[in-house]
Structure formats: C-alpha cells, structure tokens
Amino acid sequence: MVGTFDLWGLTKTVLFYALVVFIVVVSVFPFYYAILTSFKTGTDLFRVTYWPTSFSWENYLSVLSQGSFPRNLWNSIFVASVTVILALFIAITAAFALSRVRFRGRGLLLMTILGISMFPQIAVLAGLFEVVRFLGIYNTPWALIFSYTIFTLPFTVWVLTTFMRDLPIEIEEAAIVDGATPWVIITRVFMPLMWPALVTTGLLAFIAAWNEFLFALTFTSSNLTRTVPVAIALLSGGSQYEIPWGIIMAASVIVTVPLVVLVLIFQRKIVSGLTAGGVKG
C-alpha cells in the first residue's frame, strides 16, 4: 500500500470512516438535541433547529432552584453509591464462595441467582412494599438501597463469580501458604486484581440504580428522599397540564452528564471487565 495509489483502499477507508461518523451521530444526536433544547425557552422550544440559536441558562437555574432538585441529586448519588458498594461487598464475598470453594448445589445456586435477575419488577412490587414497611425503612434512602439489590445483586454476583473463577489458583494458594485467611485473600489479594471487573459491574449497577424509577416512586413519599428520575417525572411547568420540555431537558442533561463522564472515564475498563468475565459462553 505504500507508494502506490490505492483507489480501492482509499474508498474502503472513506466508507469505513463514514460508517463511524454515522454511528457516532446516531448515538449522540438525541443527547445533543436534548442539550440544544435545554437552552431554549418559551415558544422557541417548539421550533425545530439543528444548531444552537438561543442560549439561556434559565432552564438550568429553574431546575436547580425548583423543589429540591439538588437534594434529589444528592439522594441519587447516595443511593446509587451505597447500592453499588453494598452489592459489590456482598457479591464479592459470595462470588468467592461460589467460584473458589467446592460444595454441593453450587450450580443450582448460580442458576437460582440468574433466575432472580429475570424477575419482572412489577411482579414483586406489592410484596416488596410490604417488606419495606415491615422493616420500617419506608420513605428512607435505605428502602431504595434495599430494594435495588434485587437487580444489582444477581448481576454482580454472576459477573464476579465468572471473573473470579478465572483468577489463577496459584495466587490464592501462595496466599494460603503465606497464612492468609479467606477474608484476607479476598480483600488484600483478589480485590486489587479484580478491579476492572469491579469497575464494570459497579458501573452497571450504578447506572441501574441511578436510572430506576418504579421503586423510587413507590418507596419514597417526600421530596427530601426522592431520587432524580422521580424528580424529573415530577418536574412541572407553571400549571397543571404544562410539560416543561426545556426544564425536563435541562434536568435530563444534568442527570445524564455524570453517567456519561463515568462511562468516559471507565470505558476501557468496561470492555476489559466484560471480556474477562461474565459474558463468556
């Protein structure tokens, strides 16, 4: 290819980059458009434009001043973070038992866990509500943290188990000879090795918890305990039927940006985390 003018090669390159551009545009455009919309106000909202025409922070200001959005944002961060930490903590110990210790019924247990991950949320909502009230955590962040384990835990256990199974057994044995207990092996030896998997599963769990709506709506009953998706659904315009598109888009941008940033930071790890575990056939 060097020195000679390669028409076909060039065409291929051009087509390839065209495809890349197409994929990127399709992926990003709605978000871009949301950002665009979030800077519009009033009747401007209903006029289609492709490039920024007006530029106003008004929507952002009203999101942040309206109700208790900053507080909701904080709730979301708190709930999602604690959910992730808790799920990872429970999952990593469970994964150790499931991947590293031989016992009867291990396969069955794994299948059960997988089964739980496919529960429709609707199917457990009422029962879960009873449990939440019984535990007296209704309308606290703990209700959400608790109920979110239903979808974060099976997934994290699953991925971490497959990941941990692939860790070399010799390292564990070296630690055993060094006199490490299972707990020390997990915390001091495995965890540092697993961090791509922890990042991946943690991020997936974080996103799931961050985005959850149904439980968040059902298990909280005050502005101070609600999370952002609910807050967005509650965002309102001046009067009853008015849908404040501009403000919703501003809020959407605000909630999405942290996730996008997280994804950007960890995108390399996400792929390697998945590669190493979880999705192997």
């Binding site: 059902t218 009953s221 005050s222 309102s236 009067s239 039927y241 008015e242 404040p244």
Partner: protein, 399 residues
Amino acid sequence: AELSIVSGDTGNGLAFLRSQLDKFEAATGNTVTVVPMPSSTSDQFGQYRLWLAAGNSDIDVYTTDVIWAPQLAEQFLDLTEAAKDVAGDHFPSIIESQTVDGKLVAIPAYTDAPALFYRKDLLEKYNKEVPKTWAELKATAQEIMDGERADGNADMYGFVFQGNAYEGLTCNALEWVKSYGGGQIVEADGSISINNPQAAAAITEAASWIGTISPEGNLAYQEEESRGVWQLGNSVFMRNWPYAYALGEGADSAVAGKFDVAPLPAGEGEGARSAATLGGWNYAVSKYSQDPDEAIKLALFLTSPEVQKERAIQQTNLPTLVALYDDADIAKAAPIIPNWKEIFQNAVPRPSAPTKTDYNEVSSQFWSAVHNTLSGNGTAAENLEMLELQLTELKGAGW
C-alpha cells in the same frame, strides 16, 4: 401537629398551595409538608392505592381527582359531620360526586371544565362565526386551514384535542357522546347505555377529523401537545382546560390576544347540547392519619371561600362555591371565570359514581374503544357493541 399533604399539582399550583399552607401554619401552629406527585393522574392513583392499601400513615391529606371518590372511599374519613356547615355552599352536583353511600369522601377545592379555544383573528379574517355544532366546527376549521395553508403555513391545522389513549380521551369522548345526546356511558342507575346510534354518530364524527382537520398525531396528544400546536399558532380551534388560557396569553405565545373561549359545540339529533366533562380536585383525609382532627381542619381550610377566591384570582381555577361566581374581585382579575359558569353549567360527570371501584377499567375500555375507532380499527358501531359486551361482563351481577 405535623401534617403532610400529597398533591399532583405542579409549578405555580404548588407554589400557591404552599402559600396557603403557610397561612394555615401561622394560624394553627401546625406544620404541613407537601409531597408532590407526578402530574399523570393514573400514576398518582396507582400510588395512592398502594399507599392506602398498606395503611401508610405518613400522608394525612390527599388531593383527589373528582372521579376517585368511589374507588378510594373506604380509606378516607367521612367528612359529612365536619363539613356540615359548608357543604351547602358548594355546587350540589359536585358535593354529590364526592358522596359515596352517604359518606362525604372529599371536600371540593376547585372544579374544572374544558372549553373551545378559538382564534378570534382567523375567524374574523375568514368572516366566520364561533361554531355552535361540531359540523360547523369542522367546516369552518377546514376552510380556514385550507386557506392558511394556501397562504404558506403548511403546518396549519383546524382542531386539536386530547386523543391519546388515557383518561383525557374519556373526557373528550364523553363530551362528544353527550353532545349528541348519546348518554354518559354508564347512567346514574348503573345501566350501560353506551351502545346507541347517537354515541356511534358522535364518535364517527370525531374519527372523521383525524387526518383532515386534526393531525394524525392528535391520537397521541395529551393536553400539552395540543397546547403546543395551538400556542405556536398552528391550529384554529382547541379543546382544552382553563389553564391554557393564561398560558396562551403569555408573553412568548404566538396567539396572545388573538383568541377567546366558548362552550364546546353541540352535536346533532335528539338531545343534542353542548357538554363539558366535569373535572376538578378535592381534599380527602386519610383514615390512617395520626392526627385526623387537624387534618380535617386543613382540608376545610383549603376549600374555604378565602382560599378558593385567591385560587380563582391567582390560578384561574374555577371555584366550587356558587357565591364566588358573582364576586367582583374575581370578575375583575379573571374575567373568563364568570364566562366559564355557563360552560360549567353544562358539565357532565364521568360515570365514576355508578361504576364505583370499576371506574378506571370502564374508562380504560371506553377510551380504548374510542381510540381504536379514531385510529381506524373498526367502526364506531362495531367498537361500541364490543364495549357494551365488555362492560356487561365487567359489571357482572352489579357494579
């Protein structure tokens, strides 16, 4: 005491509520927190059902839709005794709608009835009258729409309403049916009346709008989408609630100063009349409230003449107290409210009282049948026949 009140109200509405609660707090020494809810009434309803079913004592006062009383009656306190002095001041039909088996479930806070919004300027330009019947509306809309489109406004439509498959469509369609003298789906005595030629004619007429004077997309419109089209100046007529009035007069509105409201058109045939579905909101007290006495005080306060008057002035919400329609301050601040009295006089209730706990399902089946017809799945007659069958099954031995 510490009270909490749950409300699906939004923005200005919440701000207003807060301001009134502040007065209440100052007057009584109670503290009241507001728990806002999504504005979708069906989301609110599902949530309240769940909370009440679980005996949630965190909420004392609920803001309820006019149609909910029969379905939630069991979990709310009987307010008959508490409201015996004031009940007579409200429109009797509204009090009636909140009374289930002799028990006053909620006290009315304000009422709601839709109107026909029309473009004064365009009617003048084409020298048209405000339509009195649906047929007139269609003809006028078609003419103006064609004319405007010819003038270069390709996005111009004749009429927008709420055609999405949701409670709003039940409201719209009930108006059509009633305006054609086709009854009100289920009559007060519980009989199912919907399968009749007048009703079919009404819905057939409405179906003919889609794709002609109304955009295809109207099938997915709720209040806001119609208002969006309207407020961009892209529709001659709109069916909507009073809230759209203030917004339409807003600074950035393309139709500010160019529109007015009138009662919805009437249908044709026997019993034809103008009809508006009765909306409105009320305050009910949870039976699980830890401090019922103070909660009842709050409900009474929020429905008192002072608050209703302020509400009318600030929010253009229609009072439920008869006397307020003659109030000079209101007439001055919100001149359309007296106008609306006429509309409100024509208001029809949705059949929530006779169908009791089954109302939501009745409504859902009704709007599905209508939505199917509007979107061309079967004729009105076929769909209504089917609906009758379904409702009969649902009714079983009795509602």
